[in-house]
Every structure is written in structure tokens, then in C-alpha cells.
């Protein structure tokens, strides 16, 4: 007979339905993200947007497309820094760049670029190493607002101190202040840094491969996926890289449990930099 469900079970069902509704209605697919962290952020959204439960939230989001960007702000985490984990960028500079130099032209993909912090870090590093001119950078994300921020190159002034320190610790050869102008509590990065950048809306969950990349940097995105989704994304990277191309992940991400681990060699183990096998 009908048994009363405890409250948290109903919540789980509502969350599953909400994610399904988002997928069917808007083609945003969060169904295979890590549940624990999606749940936490959806609870924040529900509270701060003032809904009594997820069914009510679902109804509004389905009927008012304007609500979608607001919800996406919760569902996609926009936490980033320039030269985050300076030792990663140092390893790229010291160990990967010498290999990249041997190519006459280069393609770099920053997947899940958020507001552009990681992208600008790489462009500056490439400029310092004299590789920028021969490189096309692809910066992709599913969050449109984040992509717009990335394209604007504008950041809050109070973040720049950390960026500067990170840049220095990464072995930066110039001064970060060479690349931006400060005004009204914000800094605006030089538009020439975007000369060779293509921004685009691309999902690692639902979209296809990019061609012939020499370096893919995808940091702190895979931790938000469950294992099968991580496999999909890594498969996408494998197919998008040239032979001997490089893949850089976040400090706490690895290919250890991946279905495609065998397709890569550890190139700089401590920094989670991998190289696609030649064969």
C-alpha cells in the first residue's frame, strides 16, 4: 500500500526529475555529474531563489527561459585563478614547451575555461616563450556568462595580487602588469592577448571532438563528473589530440581510474600532465 516516503527521498526524486527536465527542455545535461555536489548547489539555488521545493523550481525554469542562466550560475562552478597551481604552469613551461617548439603551428584547447583565468595564463606563457604567434587557442565552456567574462578580459582588481604572485611562482618571465590596465577597481587585459583566441560554447558531455590539438588543458572540470562522464570527456580529449599531444588536468584529477588510461603516458606525474601515446 502507499507508504509515506521520508522527506530526503522525495528530494532525491525531485532532483532527478529537475535534471531530466533541464536536459529535455534546454539540452543542458547534468544527469551524470557528481550527485553530492550537484545536490548541495541545487539546495543553495532553491533557498536563495526562494522556492519551497525542487518541483516548484522546475516548474518555473521550464516555463521561464530567463530563469535558466540564474540556475546555471549554481550548477556550474565558476571558481578560478590565473596561474592557479603555479607548479603546473612551470611544468608546462619547462617540460612541455620544448616539445611544442618543434611544431610550425599549434592548437591549444582550454576546456571549461570559466571566466578566462586559465586561458589568459596560457596565452601569456606562450607569449613569453615566443609561441603565441603560431598558436590558435580554443576556449570553451557551457556557461555563456562565463564565456562573456572571458571575452571581456576584465577582472576585479583585488584578485590581481594573487594572480601576480602565482605568475611569478610559475616562472613568469615578464611582469603581469605589462598585460593589463587598471581603472575603477577593475583590470582590463590587453586585447592583443585575444588575437589568436576562439571562444565557443561547447559541452564535454554532449558535444563532439575538436581536431588536431597539441595541448589540451582541462582543469577542475572532471571532478564535477561521475566516472562514466569522466570517461566520455577523456575519450574526447584522446580523439582530439595529435599523436604525442599533451593533456593537463587539475591537481586532484588523474587518469588512474580512466578507461583510456592506456592511451596516455604520464609526462609530468606530479602535475597531472599526460602525453598521448604515439602508436
Amino acid at each position: 500500500m502507499t507508504e509515506i516516503q521520508p522527506a530526503e527521498k522525495v528530494e532525491d526524486i525531485e532532483i532527478r526529475l529537475l535534471l531530466e527536465a533541464l536536459y529535455i527542455t534546454y539540452h543542458y545535461d547534468f544527469r551524470n555529474y557528481s550527485i553530492a555536489s550537484i545536490k548541495r548547489r541545487l539546495r543553495q539555488a532553491r533557498e536563495q531563489m526562494g522556492f519551497a521545493n525542487f518541483s516548484a523550481l522546475q516548474e518555473r525554469v521550464m516555463h521561464e527561459p530567463d530563469m535558466l542562466p540564474r540556475l546555471l550560475r549554481y550548477l556550474t562552478v565558476q571558481v578560478s585563478e590565473m596561474f592557479r597551481d603555479p607548479s603546473y604552469f612551470r611544468a608546462l613551461r619547462e617540460k612541455v614547451v620544448p616539445h611544442l617548439r618543434t611544431y610550425p603551428s599549434l592548437k591549444v584547447w582550454v576546456a571549461g575555461c570559466s571566466g578566462g583565468e586559465e586561458l589568459y595564463s596560457l596565452v601569456i606563457l606562450f607569449r613569453e616563450e615566443g609561441l603565441e604567434e603560431r598558436t590558435i587557442f580554443y576556449a570553451t565552456d557551457i556557461n555563456q556568462e562565463a564565456l562573456h567574462v572571458a571575452e571581456s578580459g576584465i577582472f576585479a582588481l583585488d584578485r590581481v595580487r594573487l594572480f601576480t604572485e602565482n605568475h611569478r611562482n610559475s616562472g613568469g618571465k615578464s611582469s603581469l602588469s605589462d598585460y593589463y590596465q587598471a581603472a575603477y577597481g577593475r583590470v582590463s587585459f590587453d586585447k592583443t592577448l585575444r588575437r589568436n583566441v576562439v571562444f565557443s560554447d561547447h559541452s564535454l558531455v554532449t558535444d563532439a571532438v575538436f581536431a588536431e590539438m597539441h595541448l589540451i588543458s582541462c582543469r577542475n572540470v572532471l571532478i564535477y563528473f561521475n566516472r562514466s562522464l569522466q570517461d566520455r570527456a577523456v575519450g574526447l580529449f584522446k580523439d582530439s589530440l595529435v599523436r604525442k599531444g599533451f593533456l593537463g588536468l587539475g591537481a586532484k584529477e588523474s587518469l588512474r581510474f580512466s578507461r583510456y588510461a592506456g592511451a596516455f603516458d604520464e609526462f609530468v606525474r606530479e602535475e597531472k600532465i599526460y602525453q598521448k601515446r604515439g602508436a
Binding site: I35, R40, R41, V77, V79, I223, N226, K252, F257
Partner: protein, 187 residues
């Protein structure tokens, strides 16, 4: 004593090292539960807690990896600068979401996700600390039927965190470190 216990979560801040030293090394070799631990450490420093305690403990101790299946008889420390969460399928997740109450890793984030995953099978422990992290998480643990233990604030290096937990969770059991260690040996 509860026999339902399936997992233990621990949160500690200022004075954590000493407090944990009274608890983790006391766990017997055959301890069967997983123990997830959040300690607030400065974000720019690589966490050495796992190595430190591995040398002192009879159970396995390591830093948590993303999407790692949770194993019994193992202590998992949250890495510095990442939140540690428990998934419903009893694996671990890391996240670089914003700090909560200025903390990443956050005790609340671990406790709330673990409460969802383990319900009444969870034992949550709040130790010494100078902030209020853990109180909300402990509330969630109790609301879902779990067990709440708090270090006696009068005997804690920093009383604020246990005090905040007790304020929000008046039914939590207040204990000295040795009593918490004893409790775990029999859980």
C-alpha cells in the same frame, strides 16, 4: 552502543593535530569503518596530514582521491584547497566550489553529504576549532538519525567550534578526547 554505524566523519581546526593524535592512533588495526576527516589548513600549503598520521596509526591513512570508492578501516583526509564529499554510492568526490565560512575544505560540506549517504549509519565528531564550521553539518547528521559527538569545549584547545556545534545540536554528546577514542573502539 550503536551497531548500525557504517562510517565516521571528523572535523577539526585550530589545535587539530593534538586532538586527532588522541583519537586516530587509538583506532585498532581491525577497525572496520571508514573515517573521513576535514582539517582546516592554509590553502597554499600541501597537506602533510595523511603522511604524518600514517606513521602513527594502525589503520590505513591517506589523502582522499576524487571518485575513489570508500574502503573500511581507512582514514581519508581532505586535500588542502578542495571540499571533500561523500556520494550516495559511497565513493568520494572532491570539489573546488567556493569556500564555506571561509573554509575549503569545509566540515559542513563533508558532514551534509555524508549524512545524505549514510543516514543513521553515520557518526559525526566535531573537535577543537576557532570558528563555527561543522555545526550546520552536525545538525544535518542528527536530523537524518546519525550520532553526534562533540569534544568538551572546556577542555578543547579552541572552544568556539565545539560550542557552536553544541548550540545548534543540544542533543550531541559532549565528551573528552579519551572518551571519543573509547567510543570509536567499541562502535
Amino acid at each position: 552502543m550503536t551497531t548500525k554505524a557504517e562510517a565516521v566523519v571528523v572535523g577539526a581546526s585550530a589545535g587539530a593535530l593534538e586532538a586527532l593524535s588522541a583519537i586516530l592512533p587509538a583506532l585498532p588495526r581491525e577497525f572496520r569503518l571508514p573515517v573521513m576527516v576535514v582539517v582546516h589548513v592554509p590553502s597554499d600549503r600541501r597537506s602533510v596530514l595523511a603522511e604524518l598520521f600514517q606513521a602513527k596509526c594502525r589503520v590505513q591513512v591517506r589523502e582522499a582521491d576524487d571518485k575513489e570508492p570508500i574502503a573500511g578501516g581507512t582514514v581519508y583526509f581532505a586535500p588542502s584547497d578542495y571540499h571533500l564529499l561523500v556520494e550516495p554510492d559511497k565513493s568520494l568526490s572532491l570539489s573546488s566550489d567556493e569556500p564555506v565560512l571561509f573554509s575549503r575544505p569545509s566540515i559542513d560540506v563533508l558532514f551534509e553529504s555524508a549524512a545524505d549517504a549514510y543516514g543513521e549509519g553515520l557518526v559525526a565528531i566535531v573537535l577543537t576549532g576557532a570558528n563555527e564550521d561543522g555545526a550546520k553539518g552536525m545538525r544535518a547528521v542528527l536530523d537524518l538519525g546519525g550520532v553526534a559527538l562533540v569534544q568538551d569545549p572546556d577542555r578543547a584547545f579552541a572552544p568556539a567550534m565545539p560550542q557552536a556545534a553544541i548550540r545548534l545540536c543540544p542533543s550531541a554528546r559532549v565528551m573528552a578526547l579519551e572518551e571519543i577514542a573509547m567510543y570509536l573502539q567499541k562502535v
